[in-house]
C-alpha cells in the first residue's frame, strides 16, 4: 500500500518549497524565459502556515486537515520532490542530481557519517527519485544481495513503488563507503513515459478500490472522467488526491469496482 505523507511532513516540505520557489522565480527572472506555473513563494509560505496553525491547534478535524494538506501539497508543485529529498537526504545544496535532458537519476555515492545520505546507525532511507527503478547496492566495495545470505551477513531491501531502501543485518557504520546505483537496464525497469489520455479500469486499482499506483503519472497535474459517476471531469483536491506513487480517489464511498472505465487526462 502506498504511504500517505503525514501532515507534519507536508508542513516541512512547504517550508523548504518556499525558498526553492523563490530561487526558481528569481533565476527565471534573471536569465529570462517563461516561468511555467510556479506557485508564488508567498502563497506556498501562507499555505504552509495555514496548515501548521490548523494542525497544531487541535481544533480541526482529521478529514479537514487531510483535505487542506493535499491542496497545499498540490500548491508546492514542482518543488515537492526536491524538498522531500532535502529534508530526508544529504541536506541543502545536494539533491540527487538528474542528468540534464532527463533520464535515470545519477548514482548515490557517499561515505557514511553523521550527516551523510544514510547517517551512522540508520537502517533505512526514502529515495523517491528512484521510484520505478531497480537499484544495485555496494557497501565498502562489496556488492550486496536482496536475499538474506543466511550466515548473518548484510543484505538490503528496495521497494521501487514506495522508494523505501533498507539495510538488513547491519546498520550503516561510520566511515563505510556506500554506492546506491540505479539499474536502468538489465533486469530493472525504467519509469515509462505516460501517454495521455489513457484509460484504466477497476482491475488497475489496488485492493482498496480507491488507490491507483503508476510512477509514470507522479508529478503530473491530472483530471479524471469516471464513467458512470457523473458527466463531469473530476479534479484534485476535491475528488482525488495525489500520492507519492499515483492517485487516491477521495469521493466518499467510492469503489472502482462499481464504475466503468476511468479516463485520465493531463492538465499540464
Amino acid at each position: 500500500m502506498p504511504t500517505i505523507l503525514p501532515i507534519s511532513d507536508i508542513i516541512e516540505i512547504g517550508r523548504v518549497s518556499t525558498y526553492l520557489s523563490a530561487n526558481y522565480v528569481a533565476k527565471k527572472g534573471l536569465f529570462g524565459g517563461t516561468v511555467i506555473r510556479p506557485t508564488p513563494p508567498a502563497l506556498i509560505a501562507m499555505a504552509t502556515d495555514a496548515l501548521d496553525w490548523g494542525n497544531a491547534g487541535g481544533a480541526q478535524t482529521t478529514a479537514s486537515l487531510r483535505s487542506t494538506a493535499n491542496y497545499a501539497y498540490w500548491l508546492f508543485g514542482k518543488f515537492q520532490l526536491d524538498a522531500q529529498n532535502i529534508i530526508s537526504g544529504p541536506g541543502g545544496g545536494s539533491v540527487i542530481p538528474t542528468p540534464s535532458g532527463g533520464g535515470a537519476p545519477n548514482d548515490l555515492d557517499f561515505k557514511v557519517s553523521s550527516t551523510s545520505f544514510i547517517k551512522t546507525g540508520e537502517t533505512s532511507v526514502s529515495i523517491p527519485q528512484f521510484i520505478g527503478y531497480n537499484v544495485d547496492f555496494s557497501r565498502s566495495g562489496i556488492m550486496q544481495n536482496t536475499t538474506n545470505p543466511g550466515d548473518g551477513g548484510t543484505y538490503y531491501g528496495w521497494n521501487n513503488v514506495t522508494g523505501l531502501f533498507e539495510l538488513f543485518n547491519g546498520a550503516a557504520q561510520d566511515g563505510e563507503l556506500f554506492r546506491i546505483m540505479v539499474d536502468a537496464g538489465g533486469s530493472g525497469s525504467v519509469i515509462p513515459t505516460q501517454t495521455y489520455p489513457f484509460i484504466i479500469t477497476s482491475a488497475d486499482f489496488e485492493p482498496d478500490g480507491i488507490t491507483y499506483n503508476n510512477p509514470a503519472i507522479v508529478g503530473d497535474q491530472l483530471m479524471l472522467f469516471i464513467t458512470g459517476y457523473n458527466q463531469e471531469w473530476q479534479f484534485a483536491p476535491t475528488s482525488f488526491s495525489y500520492t507519492a506513487t499515483g492517485i487516491q480517489i477521495d469521493i466518499p464511498g467510492f469503489d472502482a469496482a462499481n464504475y466503468g472505465n476511468i479516463i485520465i487526462q493531463k492538465i499540464n
Partner: protein
C-alpha cells in the same frame, strides 16, 4: 523552604480561543505562599478579567492547588503583558514574574479556514483583490507574533492584531 525559581507558561486554546491556559512551572516548595494572582494587562493599559475589562489594576485568583488553570478572559486576539504573583495568606507578594505574549488563535484558525475554503476553489487566488487581502491578513498575523517574540513590543503587536481582527470581522468585504 521557598521557591528556588518562578516561571509559568501561557497558551491559548485553538478549540476555544477565548480561553487562556496558564501553567505554573516554578521549582522548589511553596513554603508560606498561599495563593497566586494573575494579571492580564493589555497594550492599552487595561486589565482583562473573567468578569470583563477593568480600567484599573485587576487580577484573577489562581488557586495554589491548580498547577494548570484556564481563564476565559478573551473576546478577540490580544497582545498581553501577563504577570503572576505568588502571595502569602495576608496578601504579601513573595515572587513576581511578568512575560509578554501574542495570543493570536482567533486569527490563526480563521486563516486556516480561508485556506480550507480556497482548496475548494483554487482559482480564487487569481483574483487580485483576494490574493492581496490574503497576503495582508497573513502579514499582520506574522507581524503580530514577531513583534512580541523578537521586539517584545505588545503595542505594535496589538496594532497588527487589530488590523487582522478587523479583516476577519469584515470577511465578506475582504475575502
Amino acid at each position: 523552604m521557598a521557591l528556588t525559581s518562578v516561571s509559568f507558561t501561557i497558551s491559548q486554546s485553538a478549540v476555544a480561543p477565548a480561553i487562556i491556559t496558564a501553567t505554573d512551572t516554578s521549582e522548589g516548595t511553596y513554603g508560606t505562599i498561599a495563593s497566586r494572582r494573575i494579571f492580564f494587562q493589555t497594550s492599552q493599559g487595561t486589565w482583562l478579567t473573567t468578569s470583563g475589562i477593568s480600567s484599573t489594576s485587576a487580577y484573577v485568583e489562581w488557586p495554589l492547588a491548580n498547577t494548570t488553570e484556564n481563564f476565559q478572559v478573551l473576546e478577540e486576539d490580544q497582545a498581553l503583558a501577563i504577570t503572576v504573583q505568588w502571595v502569602e495568606a495576608d496578601g504579601t507578594v513573595v515572587n513576581t514574574l511578568t512575560q509578554l505574549y501574542c495570543l493570536s488563535e482567533f486569527n490563526r484558525q480563521f486563516f486556516y479556514y480561508l485556506f480550507q475554503q480556497q482548496a475548494l476553489s483554487p482559482g480564487i487566488v487569481q483574483d487580485t483583490n483576494y490574493y492581496a487581502n490574503l497576503s495582508t491578513y497573513w502579514m499582520n498575523i506574522i507581524g503580530a507574533i514577531q513583534a512580541v517574540e523578537i521586539g517584545a513590543d505588545i503595542s505594535s503587536s496589538q496594532n497588527c492584531l487589530n488590523r487582522a481582527t478587523n479583516m476577519m470581522n469584515e470577511q465578506a468585504k475582504y475575502f
